[in-house]
């Protein structure tokens, strides 16, 4: 009956377990390849400037002299252009985790090690030695 269809559904749900994901207590596993936030792996970055050029919102700023990779999360629209533009192997990745809220406006600065990425491991071992 047209009056009771919803009643039926409502009563059914009264006995069912809620569909809620109890978010702050239980964090559900991320979905693979979801675009969460931009992350840089400084060790592989070559500071090639391609990502800065490709970024439609100018969220990425690269200072080659100081060797700083600067990302403004407030500008980033998670389009993934930087990721696909990156010629180094996965220097920029789109992590599945989203960026947390902030109380102040700031940018994320990744210092990029000065050694060429191919030599990175050797430099490290030399330092150790």
């Amino acid at each position: 009956m047209s009056y009771f269809q919803m009643l039926n559904l409502s009563i059914q749900q009264l006995w069912h377990r809620p569909a809620t994901r109890l978010y702050p207590q239980e964090v559900r596993p991320v979905i693979a390849r979801s675009r969460g936030r931009v992350e840089l792996q400084p060790s592989t970055c070559t500071l090639c400037l391609l990502c800065e050029k490709k970024c439609p919102t100018h969220a990425i700023h690269i200072d080659r002299t100081q060797r700083l990779f600067t990302l403004d999360r407030f500008q980033c629209i998670l389009c993934g252009a930087c990721e696909s533009a990156c010629i180094a192997k996965h220097a920029i990745v789109l992590s599945e985790h989203y960026a947390p809220p902030q109380t102040h406006r700031d940018v994320i600065i990744w210092p990029v090690p000065s050694t060429p990425p191919s030599l990175a491991s050797t430099t490290k071992s030399q330092n150790k030695g």
Partner: protein, 156 residues
């Protein structure tokens, strides 16, 4: 005890968002996220609200609207800007009609990045915003104590 923590009521305003963040704000109310668990109610009325959620950047038309809504909210109040547009203008920051992020018009307490911000991020943002209340409430009660007995008839 500050009960603002336990019942933050929100007001959502779409400044000039693309709807992406708006529907994510609405999605928080649905059974999947069910923010009412945390005492959150979407009031739709500035006079009842504690937290102003703004999505989208400020433009020439809605600037006064945002200001009015902010003024009409009773103290203590917190503003949460959601999404890249609300934070900085995002991809539209070069548009001729925009005044950039929300903080160009009213003070923003919490920034939730993302395009579109995910419901979880929005919930995080609201929960962080609640923490701001303690501070604001203390300031308010101090003010109250100094102006006790006088009607707070402050016209703007």
């Amino acid at each position: 005890m500050n009960f603002l923590k336990k019942s933050p009521w929100i007001l959502h305003y779409d400044a000039s968002s693309c709807n992406g963040c708006d529907i994510e704000v609405l999605a928080c109310l649905t059974p999947i996220y069910d923010v009412e668990r945390l005492g959150i109610i979407n009031t739709g009325n500035p006079k009842h609200a504690d937290i102003l959620l703004i999505t989208g950047a400020i433009n020439a038309q809605n600037q006064s609207v945002v200001q009015t809504l902010y003024e009409q909210m009773p103290a203590p109040k917190v503003v949460v800007a959601i999404g890249a547009c609300a934070l900085s203008g995002g991809i539209f920051s070069q548009c001729y009609n925009l005044h950039q992020g929300v903080d160009s018009t009213i003070p923003v307490d919490i920034y939730v990045p993302g395009c579109a911000a995910r419901p979880e991020a929005i919930i995080d943002g609201v929960l962080q915003a609640v923490a701001c209340f303690n501070q604001k409430q203390t300031i308010r009660s101090n003010q109250k104590r100094t102006s006790h007995g006088i009607k707070l008839d402050s016209h703007h």
